[in-house]
Symmetry: C2
Subunit: 416 residues, 2 copies
């Protein structure tokens, strides 16, 4: 189907989605969850084609694992949709009410965005997850997944559309762009007339491409060059526990720690113990000169370059920067971070306060691991991504962040 036709359909169905009651949306989410489990065999068979193509194209084992669908994963996907059904509906909340001196009454009310476009890579679970969140928040959605994943995405989308039709609803509430050439993606990003917001989900390259080419307003998500700063007044045990957790609990996630910043007064006490533990977990250490001095008793400590400080490794690597005080730490973090999650370990309240105030990031932690930047951990439920920009939403984006607002103004003939 022509991309424009797809856009027209989404635009014309968006008002229908916006008006669905909470009960209807929840019922449909449960029906779709059931249908995805019922159709799991067919979906897994289509996924097998993508897997086979992936193997032929020498896809990285990590990516192949992300691509794979199993009965168990289909159950988890269905459970995810049921959880979204249980979350509160963000639409139609009266956020503010005020009466002006001329007696007109202004209400600020949460409303759906309209049509949300999601551009993502070869992870078929994003297809139902993104649909579920956008739909519950009252939006029509157009999905553009990775071409490596097209058979899986098509099977999942067909199943959702079939369920919507079967219940008497317009299936265009969710549409998949099936064309796999890049020029189509480029054209999609400029369909401003039809799409209200674009959310890219994936690696830094994908996100950059969307930001650079889209004319539709974009919410940037995901890249996280996250730091843990250990202040001179840190509790060493807390510091070690937080760094080990933030660096090694899961290396490939955007809220993992990529860089350690250490106050010079505490480096002798902290670094040798910490480095040993990191090396036991096979974490490569790339340290600046002052840190390497403190680590002279250990083997395999590499030198950190400027490039290291700017790199989101998503790997068993950590950079180490030594600073003379918290001001230097803050300046270093504000220079290299990506606006995601930053942590200070300190028992000094004044220093913690300064760090909280001055570090420029979506989530600033005091004595807590950066790994908590997550919709579930924040209590928002499932999330569409972690926003690293400052417009609209920052940090974990749940259902509420998939809404906009409007003002309604009621009077009895007021003029200026």
């Amino acid at each position: 189907m022509e991309l424009k036709e797809l856009g027209c359909r989404a635009k014309s169905v968006k008002y229908e989605v916006a008006l669905l009651s909470t009960e209807v949306k929840n019922e449909l989410l449960h029906s779709i969850a059931d249908a995805l489990v019922a159709d799991a065999d067919e979906i897994i068979a289509q996924n097998a084609i993508d897997m086979e193509n992936g193997r032929k194209n020498n896809m990285h084992p990590g990516l192949l694992d992300r691509l794979l669908l199993t009965q168990e994963r289909m159950e988890a996907i269905a459970e995810g949709l049921r959880q979204v059904a249980n979350l509160p509906d963000p639409v139609g909340e009266v956020l503010e009410t005020f009466t002006r001196p001329n007696r007109m009454v202004i209400e600020k009310i949460s409303v759906p965005m309209g049509v949300i476009g999601i551009i993502y890579e070869s992870r078929p679970n994003v297809t139902p997850d993104a649909f579920g969140l956008c739909f519950k928040a009252g939006n029509a959605v157009i999905l553009k997944g990775g071409s490596d994943c097209i058979h899986s995405n098509k099977a999942i989308t067909d199943c959702i559309r079939k369920t919507l039709s079967g219940k008497g609803y317009n299936p265009d509430m969710v549409q998949l762009i099936e064309a796999t050439d890049r020029s189509v993606t480029a054209e999609f990003m400029k369909m401003k007339e039809y799409v209200d917001v674009l959310i890219p989900r994936g690696g830094a390259g994908l996100i950059r491409a969307v930001v650079e080419n889209a004319t539709i307003p974009v919410i940037e998500t995901g890249t996280g060059n996250c730091h843990v700063y250990v202040d001179k007044d840190a509790d060493i045990e807390k510091a070690i526990a937080i760094i080990m957790n933030a660096k090694t609990q899961r290396i490939g996630v955007c809220n993992a720690c990529e860089s350690l910043v250490v106050h010079e007064d505490i480096r002798e006490e902290l670094l040798p113990v910490l480095a040993k533990k990191l090396q036991e977990k096979n974490v490569e250490i790339r340290a600046d000169e002052a840190a390497r001095e403190a680590l002279s008793g250990l083997d395999n400590i590499l030198s950190a370059t400027e490039e290291d400080f700017g790199t989101e490794y998503l790997d068993y690597i950590i950079s180490v920067k030594t600073v003379a005080n918290e001001d230097e730490a803050i300046a270093h973090i504000n220079r290299y971070n990506t606006g995601h999650s930053e942590c200070i370990v300190t028992e000094n309240e004044a220093v913690a306060e300064k760090f909280k105030q001055q570090v420029d990031a979506a989530c600033v932690y005091v004595n807590v691991s950066t790994r908590f930047t997550d919709g579930f951990e924040f209590g928002f439920g499932a999330e569409i991504g972690i926003s690293t920009q400052k417009l609209h939403a920052r940090g974990p984006m749940g259902l509420r962040e998939l809404n906009s607002y409007k003002y309604t103004i009621v009077g009895d003939g007021q003029i200026r």
Copy 2:
């Protein structure tokens, strides 16, 4: 100065602006207001050069008037800055607090955007106005005004910078791009590394150019193809008063009425009386066939084309569309409007409720003129513009909308 150098300076001063106390910001705004009045002669002399060039280039009289600075207008500009000083400071407000089961305490706190870029046309008053709002909201600002206005803008910016320096503050809190070639503007829109948000202020062409070329997140403002729908259950007197006000009180503004939508059952009663009043104010009427029938007794009623319905005239012209019911009215408005301000005149509460819910616009009015879409009228004070997009802010954007937020998370060693 190189554009990049300008960006670096703004980026490095933004944390300084963000940390200024409310008292310091207000004192500086008052000092700058005083300085602009004290330097009015010099600023007006520079403005005279722009005016002279404008006349030589056959600038439209309306634009020349917008370009002109006088002693009185300088006083008004200063008064505007003093009013901004009196508005509440949006920075540092705790928007939400919640404690998670693991006892970490999450606060959502309003913070400045950082560096705001403003691209605008030949209206020198935007220079101090935009600076005042961005600055009070804790942001550094980079201004790019119209080339026709460069001498005026330079004089005003110099005066602000001089005042900041004189009080011991970094003058780079406000910077003006002095280069006037378009390639510089194009480069500026892509300075994502240095500028957090871009707000274009001006006509539809300027806004389109920014949306299409910027990689910095943009807030779209301004274009308003606003409708008044007169329902069959309307109070005719209210309808006439509202339409006359929305159409003729000020024609060149974005919240003026451009199109009238009329229920067919009320056209005979409404249109002849209304059209006569509009023609007395020299408003040209472009009507569809059903409306022309009702207006057969009047001369000079033109035919409306599809193009008319999509046009923001900003002129003494109004289009008229006849509909069979409110659903047609809503569909027509959702097809042609620009997401700005839309009005229904009706005494029927159910129809009003449907219109409020289903019309897709920043501001939806019931029995109130669209002319109230304005920061002062909403009680927000001065505004940076009217957002017509759905990300971040919708409708009048005051100080609060020039802030983002961050989460701070405080604990005692929590890990996952």
